[in-house]
Every structure is written in structure tokens, then in C-alpha cells.
């Protein structure tokens, strides 16, 4: 069973979002997503300064098996990317909700955060996927 921390919000496309006190958010991919992809060998995050809209393809994670798009869970401006992933993409496998974060976003509309899935709702979508 994969981990789904309570305090985060999730997109059906398997990204997680963590809201910070300053109103900015961190974005990564869920434990379930990293486990399905297998060993990651390359992460292509969006670029700092990119303006992205909810649902946009804004990056790629590649495992030895396959490439998979990552989608923007919220609209906003990319203000940082996790540069450690350039040389250590395996951080996403090892710590998907911590050191494996992919980028940081300044949301255009914070209300979008509340529209994302709660941990319970995300867990339900995973169970439905398995049926």
C-alpha cells in the first residue's frame, strides 16, 4: 500500500501539492506514481518563470521503462525547481513527498488548492483504478 500523507492535496494525474505558510506550493508526484514508474533516471521539470495553467503538461519524469508527463495541478508561476534531481532523480523514488519534490509554484488562485483531492479521496481513486 502506498503512502498518502494527510496534509497534502492530490491531482487525479498523481501529483501532490503542499501549501506553505507563505502561500506558495511545492509539487511532486505521489508514492503510488513513483512506484508504478519504477527507478527514475531523468526528471525534466518546468523552467523557473514559466506561467502554467491547471492541467498543462509541464514536465516529464522518465524511468528506465518509460517517460511520463507531469501535469500542473494548479495555475501559477514556477518560482523554483529541485535542482538536486538533475544528478539524483532517484530522490523521487526514495522520498517522493520530501527531497523528491519537483518544483515550487506561486499560485495564481489559491482557491484551486481546495479543489484538489484530499488524501482520502485520492486513496479512493487509487482503489478504483485497481478494480
Amino acid at each position: 500500500m502506498s503512502q498518502i500523507p494527510e496534509e497534502l492535496r492530490y491531482a487525479t494525474s498523481h501529483e501532490w501539492v503542499r501549501m506553505e505558510d507563505d502561500g506558495n506550493v511545492y509539487v511532486g508526484i505521489s508514492d503510488h506514481a513513483q512506484d508504478s514508474l519504477g527507478d527514475l533516471v531523468f526528471v525534466e521539470p518546468p523552467e523557473v518563470g514559466d506561467e502554467i495553467s491547471t492541467g498543462d503538461e509541464c514536465g516529464v519524469v522518465e524511468s528506465v521503462k518509460a517517460a511520463s508527463d507531469i501535469y500542473a495541478p494548479m495555475s501559477g508561476e514556477v518560482i523554483a525547481v529541485n535542482e538536486n534531481l538533475e544528478d539524483s532523480p532517484e530522490l523521487v523514488n526514495q522520498d517522493p513527498y520530501g527531497d523528491g519534490w519537483i518544483y515550487q509554484l506561486k499560485p495564481a488562485n489559491k482557491a484551486e488548492f481546495d479543489e484538489l483531492l484530499s488524501a482520502d479521496d485520492y486513496a479512493t481513486t487509487l482503489e478504483d483504478d485497481e478494480d
Partner: protein, 359 residues
């Protein structure tokens, strides 16, 4: 539910993540494809390849039949030797690639599972006019035990009927006994053995291998290992529309004077024409090469046929069909970006060492 090998339960017990592979439920990995890859390069790993199709050819005219059927020439090897070859259609296209084991009284061949029906139908069709019998053996299991430590770990585990001989096998030779075929062949670029054995003996033998410290390895690592070794995968790097000359397999075509193998006339014509060739690529920036990416060269365009991240090299590698004569620097288009790559002569890795040469 797909077909299951005799080791299906053993894969689940080892934590295998099962996927469909041409109608078979097979392990793609047992936790980490990268760790399994390194286990084969550094120590020893075992693959279940029982989904592959074992076919025996016997009869008075078995040799004549094989010399007609295959692009390589079984007359060039002795009993006890193995031969890699293509089986061609009349247009010179590759129906399949296979290993032939030449016996005292006939031949054993191992063909790909994805092409099983097509291969068996073709082989049967070609028996017309020959005193020969083609028979599949679905009751057999097949394991590949590969890696620098593989033969050492295996030494005490083989049946006594083959153990002594197996320990002295030279590369591309084999021995048989007690219903086992033990060959010093493989698909990884490492030393090791491939074993064909009665299916009912496979679970105990598998367990004995694991107990001896041989790691279970899934089909995911099998693909990255074979690509590092510069070995073709049927369906990716060649198919029925591609001749061996365009698939880096020219060395497997035996042009023995007067031997009329299927596809020869077409190959002789193709040989006189300008045709693309299969080369290696090493990506010079971050990223991962995949099949069907566009390759831009100063002599026209090409396309990757297989591509992956090479765990041993730590960078992306590919096989690519390119205009003949392309050397040096090329560009590969990945998601609308053009990234620099170098044309190389495969293999990329052999016996754990980087061996590719720039072209």
C-alpha cells in the same frame, strides 16, 4: 489471465511485478530494475525465459532443410556448437532471429515468443520436399543465468549428467544430458549459461539458484542489458520489412557458394544498393533515448529503433537506423528539442566494461 511459466508462483514469491508480455504473465522486475541490471553486470542473475519457444528439427534431411531455411549456415558449425541466425522471407526481411543448437542427430532452435505462431507456420511450410519433422516443446522451461559469477554459482547445482561437461564449455557451445540443454550463450554481454530443462524441475532449480546467491532479474533489466550489449530485439530493431544488412546482422549471413537460402536473391540485390544501417548512439546531454525518435544527420534523417538509459554508462544509449556513412555528431529530437548525440559502433558494454567506439 495470460500464459504462465512453471515459475509463475516463484516470481510472486520473489516479489515479481507481473506484466503481460506477448500473452504471458512475466515479471518486469522484482523491486528495482536498476539493482537487477547491476547484479548481472557485477555478480549473477537469473531470468525466466520459459516464454520463449523451443523447437526441435529432426529427420534425414534436417541439415539440407536448415541450410535452406536460415541465412546463416549450419554447415559451418560442428555438433555441440550454437549459431545465431536470421530466418528470412523471400524479400530478405527478417521473420525472426534465433539461436540454433546443432546436435549429433538434428537441431534445437529457440525462437521469440512474440513471433511463435508465425515462425512455426513458416517452418512447417518450408518442410515441403524435405524429409524432416519440426516439433515444438512447450513442456520445457528455460532459464538464463548470467553475470561474471554465474558459472561459479551454478557449478554444483547442475544434474550430474551435464555438470562436468558444462564446467568446460567454451562460448557458444553446449552440452546435453538428463533432458537438459546447457549452453554458454546469453543476451546480456556477460558470461553465463542458458539452460533448457524439464518444466517440472524448474521451481526447485530456481530456488537452488536463489539460495546460491543468484538474484532474480526481470524482463526490464533484460532489455537494458541486451541494449548495452548491442544485441537486437526483434520487433524493435528489425522485422519482416528489414533485411539483416540494415540491422547490423550482415555478419550472420553466410554467403556460401551455391547455397540457395530463402531470401538470398533479395539480399544480393539489397547489397548492391544504398541502404540504411543500424548504428549505436550515445546521448551527450541529460535525457533518455527511446524508440522512434527522429535522428537528424548531415546526410539525411534516421530513427532510433531501441533506446534506454544505460545503467552502466549513466547516460542514454540507442540503436538507430541511419543513412550509411553517418559518423560523428548527430541530433536526436526529444519532445521538440534537438539534443546532441555521437554515432558509435556497438556493443556499448561487454563484461562490465565500456567498449563502444566512436564512428
Amino acid at each position: 489471465m495470460g500464459n504462465r511459466t512453471p515459475l509463475y508462483d516463484a516470481h510472486l514469491a520473489a516479489g515479481g511485478k507481473m506484466v503481460d508480455f506477448s500473452g504471458w504473465d512475466m515479471p518486469i522486475h522484482y523491486g528495482s530494475q536498476l539493482d537487477e541490471h547491476h547484479a548481472v553486470r557485477r555478480n549473477a542473475g537469473v531470468f525466466d525465459v520459459s516464454h520463449m519457444t523451443v523447437v526441435d528439427i529432426q529427420g534425414e534431411q534436417a541439415t539440407d532443410y536448415m541450410r535452406r531455411l536460415l541465412a546463416n549456415d549450419v554447415a559451418n558449425v560442428e555438433a555441440g556448437q550454437a549459431l545465431y541466425t536470421a530466418m528470412l522471407n523471400e524479400d530478405g526481411g527478417v521473420i525472426d532471429d534465433l539461436i540454433v543448437y546443432k546436435r549429433d542427430n538434428g537441431y534445437r532452435v529457440v525462437v521469440n515468443c512474440a513471433t511463435r505462431e508465425k515462425d512455426l507456420a513458416w517452418m512447417e511450410e518450408q518442410t515441403s520436399g524435405f524429409d524432416v519433422v519440426v516439433r515444438e516443446h512447450p513442456d520445457l522451461a528455460m532459464l538464463a543465468v548470467q553475470g561474471p559469477e554465474a558459472r561459479g554459482r551454478l557449478a554444483d547445482l547442475l544434474p550430474s549428467a551435464v555438470a562436468q561437461h558444462a564446467s568446460t564449455l567454451k562460448p557458444f557451445t553446449f552440452c546435453e544430458g538428463a533432458g537438459w540443454t546447457v549452453a554458454r550463450t546469453g543476451y546480456t554481454g556477460e558470461d553465463g549459461l542458458e539452460l533448457i530443462l524439464p518444466g517440472e524441475q524448474a521451481p526447485d532449480f530456481w530456488q537452488a539458484l536463489l539460495d546460491a546467491g543468484v538474484e532474480p532479474v526481470g524482463l526490464g533489466a533484460r532489455d537494458t542489458l541486451r541494449l548495452e550489449a548491442g544485441l537486437n530485439l526483434y520487433g524493435n530493431d528489425m522485422d519482416a520489412t528489414i533485411t539483416p544488412l540494415e540491422a547490423n546482422m550482415g555478419w550472420t549471413v553466410a554467403w556460401t557458394e551455391g547455397r540457395d537460402f530463402i531470401g538470398r536473391a533479395a539480399l544480393e540485390r539489397r547489397r548492391e544498393e544504398d541502404h540504411p544501417v543500424l548504428r549505436g548512439l550515445v546521448l551527450e546531454s541529460k535525457g533518455v533515448l527511446r524508440p522512434h525518435q527522429r535522428v537528424i544527420t548531415d546526410q539525411g534523417e534516421g530513427e532510433t529503433t531501441s533506446g534506454t538509459f544505460s545503467p552502466t554508462l549513466g547516460q542514454a544509449i540507442a540503436l538507430a537506423r541511419l543513412p550509411a556513412g553517418v559518423t560523428g555528431e548527430v541530433e536526436v529530437e526529444i519532445r521538440n528539442k534537438r539534443l546532441p548525440a555521437r554515432v558509435v559502433k556497438p556493443p556499448f558494454v561487454r563484461n562490465g566494461k565500456t567498449v563502444y567506439k566512436y564512428l
